[in-house]
Symmetry: C2
Subunit: 194 residues, 2 copies
């Protein structure tokens, strides 16, 4: 499936609306890699300009994809082998384009509607996938993607719970988005009454 | 909505199939509380027989529901105020029954089909909610719910990705399950092309 995902640590908003760089967390790397593996998302770009943090992530990845962790829990290595560190969203796009042989369409996500982008419903995004249009799904950490990141996106998916409490963790938001786009949640095969 | 959720730390399986007690983690408390708040799940029972671990969780909860965290990020307190520590799944059921005025139906979840329980499709579970049947959704940590926990469940939901890679984090599994049961993912209102 020609779909990749980017978790952006810069440029994102903080609680006060300023543009900041958030810290890469071990848990975002693990949880989101597992969700990507589950839904056949080929590549998971961890976007951070702070290369000092790359070292930490690289050590985690090495442990699970080559080291002792791989032997103990091979499924984890299978998930983490999709992770790639890049300094910017533009680089994530370029690497995805290289991999897919064509530029991916960038779809932003967020707890609030992304101003200045064209809206794309979940069904429309499913149709794009069915037509094999390569996609790069873009998630923000902190309080969401800032304008310079949104400006690179062709479209944006609707918030998961528009108009309601919108403080899901980014890990939960990724899981739900992937299930809506690639899961069988709406097609329910098990019929026995409960 | 008369729905509660239990995250079980005992009895669950470890990687080798033995029955163990897993450690309560800060992140499971936060992420799952936020997902519960998002989907209007009234109560989130953290099930652990190790009361020494309760102290840690209680301090986290206090910080966010009464302490400095509440002032700084009130939305977090709103989510964490749903958390309740209980020593066993039976206690979670009893507390939910007290709250709802009637015993909830326990629905197990897991990466593999739960043997010995009756299957309940996501659509059937949605119908139960529509009919206001009180539910307690049961999630296992570690490598899933062990037989003594499953024996307390009337039914079980299908695995999220049957027959495929099934190593989602429990945080992701909870988010996806709540979205399938209570979300609007299948009803897609935004129509503009992207």
């Amino acid at each position: 499936m020609r779909v990749a995902l980017a978790l952006v640590h810069h440029p994102v908003h903080d609680r006060l609306g300023d543009i900041v760089t958030t810290a890469v967390t071990n848990l975002d790397v693990h949880d989101i890699a597992r969700s990507c593996r589950t839904y056949d998302v080929e590549r998971y770009f961890v976007v951070s300009p702070i290369e000092a943090q790359w070292r930490v992530v690289e050590r985690i990845l090495e442990h699970w994809t080559e080291g002792a962790g791989r032997e103990r829990v091979p499924q984890r290595g299978e998930a983490l082998s999709r992770v790639e560190l890049v300094p910017s969203l533009a680089k994530a796009k370029a690497h995805a384009a290289e991999r897919f042989g064509v530029e991916p369409r960038l779809l932003a996500t967020g707890a609030r509607p992304a101003e200045g982008t064209e809206f794309c419903s979940y069904q429309e995004a499913r149709d794009l996938v069915a037509r094999q249009v390569p996609l790069l799904l873009v998630f923000g950490t902190g309080h969401g993607l800032a304008a310079p990141a949104l400006a690179q996106c062709a479209g944006s998916l609707p918030p998961i719970r528009p108009g309601r409490y919108n403080h899901l963790s980014v890990r939960a938001a990724v899981a739900i988005t992937l299930d809506r786009l690639f899961g069988d949640g709406c097609v329910d095969e098990v019929k026995a009454p409960c």
